[in-house]
């Protein structure tokens, strides 16, 4: 019985703080996206000529986002039944947007006119089975030119 109560408390904390953190993060992401909107991002094919530029530099933006207790538990239940892991969708979305924002912010500070060929890499840190925290790392990188 105590175990269930303890678990429900953890679940409640995970849920409320998770929602809070997510809302705060989205608000932040949206305002920064507005600020960095002017910087163009373009992807080129391998055989296409690149735009002329005097300088080019690689920028990397990495972000690690952790799941909360509630999400992790829902994920664990999902593991049994399968289906869309709705709880983790926002986690990855936030990760990608935040990583791209970090690239763009650095590039703007450097004075970039354009960022070329943005790529994403995603990896997991820890995980359910290792009983550690479930967290994801998203890295975005691209070549800025000026």
């Amino acid at each position: 019985m105590e175990e269930i109560i303890f678990f429900l408390i953890l679940l409640g904390i995970g849920y409320s703080f998770g929602i809070l953190a997510e809302k705060k993060h989205y608000k932040d992401i949206k305002s920064r996206e507005q600020e960095t909107l002017s910087l163009a991002i373009a992807s080129f094919g391998a055989k296409q000529p690149l735009p002329n530029a005097s300088e080019a530099k690689l920028f990397v933006g990495a972000v690690v986002i952790s799941s909360d207790y509630f999400k992790t538990f829902v994920m664990a239940l999902r593991n049994i039944l399968g289906g869309r892991v709705v709880a983790y969708e926002s986690l990855l979305d936030r990760g990608r947007r935040e990583a791209l924002l970090r690239v763009k912010e650095q590039a703007i500070a450097w004075g970039a006119t354009e960022v070329l060929n943005i790529r994403y890499e995603t990896s997991t840190i820890g995980g359910n089975n290792q009983k550690g925290i479930a967290a994801i790392e998203v890295i975005a990188y691209g070549t800025a030119i000026r």
């Binding site: 175990e3 269930i4 678990f7 953890l10 679940l11 849920y15 929602i19 949206k30 996206e33 507005q34 909107l37 002017s38 163009a40 373009a42 207790y69 509630f70 999400k71 992790t72 538990f73 829902v74 994920m75 664990a76 239940l77 999902r78 593991n79 049994i80 039944l81 869309r84 709705v86 709880a87 969708e89 926002s90 990855l92 979305d93 947007r97 354009e114 359910n128 089975n129 009983k131």
Partner: protein, 296 residues
């Protein structure tokens, strides 16, 4: 080719599902699934158990018996004259024609846990702490009769079979779900096992009372143990840890007493009569009590 900046206005990458609704659906589905599987497996066990021969029953009992004493926190007393007395009482209590092919083995366990248990294949367990609690032979006979009822109905095998399935099931299902919160599946199954064992307990109670009435001609005082327990439980709602261990999966003591009284009335069993005392020194090894009070 000019660049026109455009802000993200629509969240296409995030499903518009309330996380709580998603959670509730998942939880409901898993609990429902567990229950369905459990009941199917339960039916399978109920079908298999009656097919077992008494020899197989005895073999299972003999194989598992050595594991019981450590679970009850003690050792089996090999040479104790109390065992002979209890075994004889047990033979007297057995319903005529019942358990003929199963030899009854009474294991006396030196333990501080108040408990009596039936396994399978005629293996019965009684702890010394339980013997200390007993005040008359009638109530001792009722508890022994109750355990005989379990043996007769092969409840031990049934719960064992279910236990094995529960173990297998949770092993399989736990792959996805280790280390995050309590075991939802385990809890669901446990609650059901309690329910299941409750109906077994009522049946075993009836068997026990019938045994007592058959042996003594009346059922007087046989329920005293339970009544004392009920009274003590009121005094210590949570406190009666040791004794309550025996009754965790058992119905509420008051309900059991009422149920038995109703059956006695129905069957026309007399619930009044003379009390048979327990042989003196039942609480001490070999009935030989040390007269000097123990140091405390």
């Amino acid at each position: 080719m000019g660049f026109k900046p455009k802000a993200i206005t629509e969240e296409v990458n995030i499903s518009k599902v309330n996380p709580l609704v998603d959670f509730a659906r998942l939880l409901g589905a898993i609990i429902a699934l567990t229950l369905v599987i459990y009941f199917i497996l339960g039916l399978a066990v109920d079908w298999v158990v009656p097919q077992l021969t008494p020899e197989q029953d005895i073999w299972i009992g003999d194989t598992l018996a050595p594991a019981v004493a450590p679970q009850l926190g003690g050792e089996v007393l090999e040479e104790d004259t109390r065992q002979l007395y209890l075994s004889e009482l047990l033979e007297d209590l057995c319903h005529p024609g019942d358990l003929d092919e199963t030899p009854l083995t009474l294991n006396l366990i030196d333990s501080e846990v108040v408990n009596a248990a039936a396994l399978a294949g005629g293996q019965l367990f009684v702890t010394t702490a339980f013997l200390e609690e007993v005040e008359s032979e009638n109530e001792l006979a009722f508890v022994l009769g109750h355990e005989l009822g379990h043996l007769s109905a092969r409840d031990g095998l049934r719960s064992l079979g279910r236990g094995i399935f529960v173990l297998l099931g949770s092993l399989v299902l736990n792959f996805g779900h280790e280390g995050s919160g309590p075991d939802v599946i385990g809890y669901t199954l446990n609650l059901n096992r309690l329910n299941y064992s409750r109906s077994q307990e009522y049946a075993a109670d009836e068997y026990g009372l019938e045994s007592v009435v058959g042996h003594y001609g009346h059922g007087a005082n046989s329920l005293d143990f339970f009544e004392r327990l009920a009274a003590r439980k009121e005094a210590f709602p949570e406190g009666l840890v040791r004794a309550s261990e025996y009754f965790q999966t058992h119905p509420l003591t008051e309900n059991r007493i009422q149920h038995l009284d109703a059956i006695a009335r129905e069957e026309g069993w007399s619930m009044t009569g003379e009390t048979t005392p327990v042989p003196s020194g039942l609480a001490c090894a070999d009935f030989a009590c040390n007269e000097s009070p123990p140091d405390s």
